[in-house]
């Protein structure tokens, strides 16, 4: 086997390892609230996640990728020795995946995006020195540590406040929940469809301009509205006096909404995070095929399918266990609270990734859970665990950077 075949196989294996870890680590975080509140059984959650993650990865996951994710590193420094970039990408994939593996074992919801970003910075510094790094881009990633949880938190806080005032604090919460349901369905459909139609669906060769995409998204939303309205009307009423039953029936409505948002977050996650696994592989493939380093590389469909496929594989094989544990435990989250957290998280991720901000699905979700808690939505919030989570976020970049620098150096020494 010659070197380039070997590297190709190695890179594909590393990409598979990364994709499996993304599936295993993140699916539990994305779907956890739905399983915890009992809106979905763990099996249903697995199926929803599998379909949505793959759809998100394949349809919206990106057609063209920057050679180096988020342009943090100048690919020019590798123009004399393109193979070194291949080593670097492999080192980055392996280190990021290893960190994800460790983090899932320890129960830290870390960001896949930040793992790969740290790893790229690591081998970049080793290859081209400190000047090779575009620190401005790295800074924007650091800013997103603050931005994504804060955005998730703010949206969740105000959404929960809104629902509190519009539904739960009414004398007849069920009636208002039934009224609000079609509008929420509309909102979910529009944001989801907009993300798909605008710059998404490249694989179907639909190139819509933004106004076109928005129009189709609104039409899609209207369809959702019109379907859910008669369904909401069919839900039987409960006498006003029976407050407990009223609240129960209201939560039941939110179950449907939560299932919709579970699909939504898995979709957003697939579209946002697949690039972390397939981006480096696409770069490797392009270099090995052409022998040169390009600024942007085309994303071959087979790589997207591979990435999406193994994210699903990872969640089926390892994520499954975590989900089962969640399903068997009594958690203190109800469908309405879970809906708020998930909906806010997914919306922030979809909107921010369309704006090109490197946000983390996991960080955003952690923020939105805290947001619901601060709006008096949860019986408790464990601030001690949150501190631990933030520490693990801070550890992500140094760890993957160091590991990928070491791996890169090792490959340079052994492979030349």
């Amino acid at each position: 086997m010659d070197l380039s075949t070997f590297l190709m196989v190695f890179a594909i294996a590393a990409c598979i390892y990364m994709a499996c870890n993304i599936g295993a680590n993140d699916v539990a975080n994305a779907m956890g609230t739905s399983v915890g509140s009992g809106s979905l059984t763990f099996k249903q959650a697995i199926y929803v996640a599998a379909v949505a993650e793959f759809a998100g990865a394949y349809f919206v996951g990106g057609h063209v990728s920057d050679t180096i994710r988020k342009g943090m590193l100048d690919p020019e420094i590798f123009s004399d020795a393109p193979l070194h970039l291949v080593y670097g990408m492999i080192a980055a994939l392996v280190s990021a995946a290893l960190w994800l593996n460790i983090a899932s074992y320890l129960g830290w919801p870390v960001s896949t995006t930040h793992s790969i970003v740290g790893a790229v910075v690591g081998f970049g510094v080793m290859a081209g020195g400190v000047d090779a790094i575009n620190w401005g881009k790295v800074w924007s990633v650091v800013v997103s540590w603050v931005v994504s949880p804060v955005m998730g938190g703010l949206v969740a806080f105000f959404l929960f406040r809104f629902l509190t005032n519009q539904v739960f604090r009414r004398r007849n919460p069920l009636l208002y929940a039934k009224r609000i349901l079609p509008f929420m369905v509309f909102l979910v459909c529009v944001i989801l469809a907009n993300a798909m139609f605008y710059k998404g669906l490249k694989n179907l060769h639909l190139d819509f301009s933004y106004p076109e995409a928005l129009t189709y998204a609104i039409i899609f939303g209207m369809v959702g509205f019109l379907i859910s309205k008669p369904l909401a009307k069919k839900i039987p009423d409960v006498p006003k006096k029976e407050i407990h039953k009223q609240l129960e029936a209201t939560e039941n409505i939110f179950k449907y909404l939560q299932i919709t948002t579970a699909f939504y977050i898995a979709f957003a996650h697939g579209s946002n995070d697949v690039a972390n696994a397939v981006g480096p592989l696409a770069a490797v493939v392009s270099i090995l095929n052409s022998g040169t380093v390009a600024m942007k590389v085309a994303m071959p469909t087979w790589i997207l399918v591979l990435g999406g496929g193994f994210i699903v594989f990872g969640l089926l094989v390892w994520g499954r266990r975590v989900m089962e544990t969640i399903g068997s435990k009594i958690t203190e989250i109800t469908p309405s609270r879970g809906f708020c957290a998930t909906f806010s998280g997914a919306t922030v991720v979809l909107v921010c990734s369309k704006m090109g901000l490197p946000v983390s699905t996991t960080h955003t979700l952690v923020g939105s859970v805290i947001g619901v808690g601060l709006a008096r939505g949860l019986p408790t919030l464990n601030l001690g665990i949150i501190k631990e989570i933030v520490m693990s976020w801070l550890a992500t970049v140094p760890f993957t950077a160091l590991l990928s620098a070491i791996l890169f150096k090792l490959m340079l020494l052994t492979l030349g």
Binding site: S104, G373, P379, I385
Partner: protein, 222 residues
């Protein structure tokens, strides 16, 4: 392996309800206790006193469990001090009931005929009030679900108001009973003292019931 769900610790509201269930069982023994006492069935008094002390002990265990699991790093949707105040009000009810049983075991007294009717009246009233307070705690979960507002909040507000009025009524009954007690001339000093203590403990149960209502009222959003 943990997930973001580890951000939720166990809800302290559920053990609070388990605690009030123990307290409620104590409260429900007050009437049989007084019945046995007034019918001079002292063996039965001992028996009930034992049951009360067991229940109080169980309640105590739940209380310290809640305290241990409520470190500084837990964020609650209500003021943590109010939460603790609620817990100690609940616990004080159980303590007062236990004290009643202890007082009855100190000395066997003939409850004067003139006093009996008023005493039974006060006992029944206080037991009813304490039961209402216990039921209020059971509303907590729905109150949380309703985000401390809406029809559920109105219900809780009404209950708190009712407990406040009830405590005032209990005070009046307590006063009438004390007046009667001190107007009896043929009681020994020891009997007078013990009966007065019993009446005061019944008053304490009513006071703590009102406190539960007041504290829960503070949880409501304004």
């Amino acid at each position: 392996m943990r997930t973001i769900l580890s951000m939720f610790s166990k809800s302290p509201f559920k053990p609070l309800v388990s605690h009030i269930n123990q307290v409620n069982e104590c409260v429900n023994l007050i009437t049989p206790l007084f019945e046995a006492y007034q019918s001079k069935n002292y063996g039965k008094v001992e028996e009930i006193a034992k049951d009360i002390s067991d229940l109080e002990h169980k309640a105590d265990q739940i209380k310290s469990d809640i305290r241990q699991h409520l470190p500084q790093s837990i964020f609650l949707p209500v003021d943590k001090r109010d939460f603790m105040r609620l817990l100690s009000a609940q616990d004080d009810i159980a303590d007062a009931v236990e004290d009643l049983a202890v007082l009855m075991r100190i000395k066997n007294i003939d409850v004067p005929e003139d006093l009996s009717k008023l005493l039974v009246d006060l006992v029944n009233y206080v037991v009813g009030l304490a039961n209402d307070a216990c039921n209020m705690i059971r509303e907590l979960e729905d109150l949380l679900e309703a985000s401390f507002g809406g029809a559920e909040a109105e219900k809780v507000e009404e209950m708190a108001l009712h407990l406040g009025v009830g405590e005032y009524e209990a005070d009046k009954k307590q006063f009438l009973l004390a007046q009667k007690l001190f107007s009896l001339n043929d009681l020994s000093a020891a009997d007078l003292f013990l009966l007065n203590e019993l009446i005061k403990k019944l008053g304490a149960v009513a006071d703590q019931s009102e406190k539960i209502g007041k504290t829960l009222h503070m949880f409501l959003s304004r």
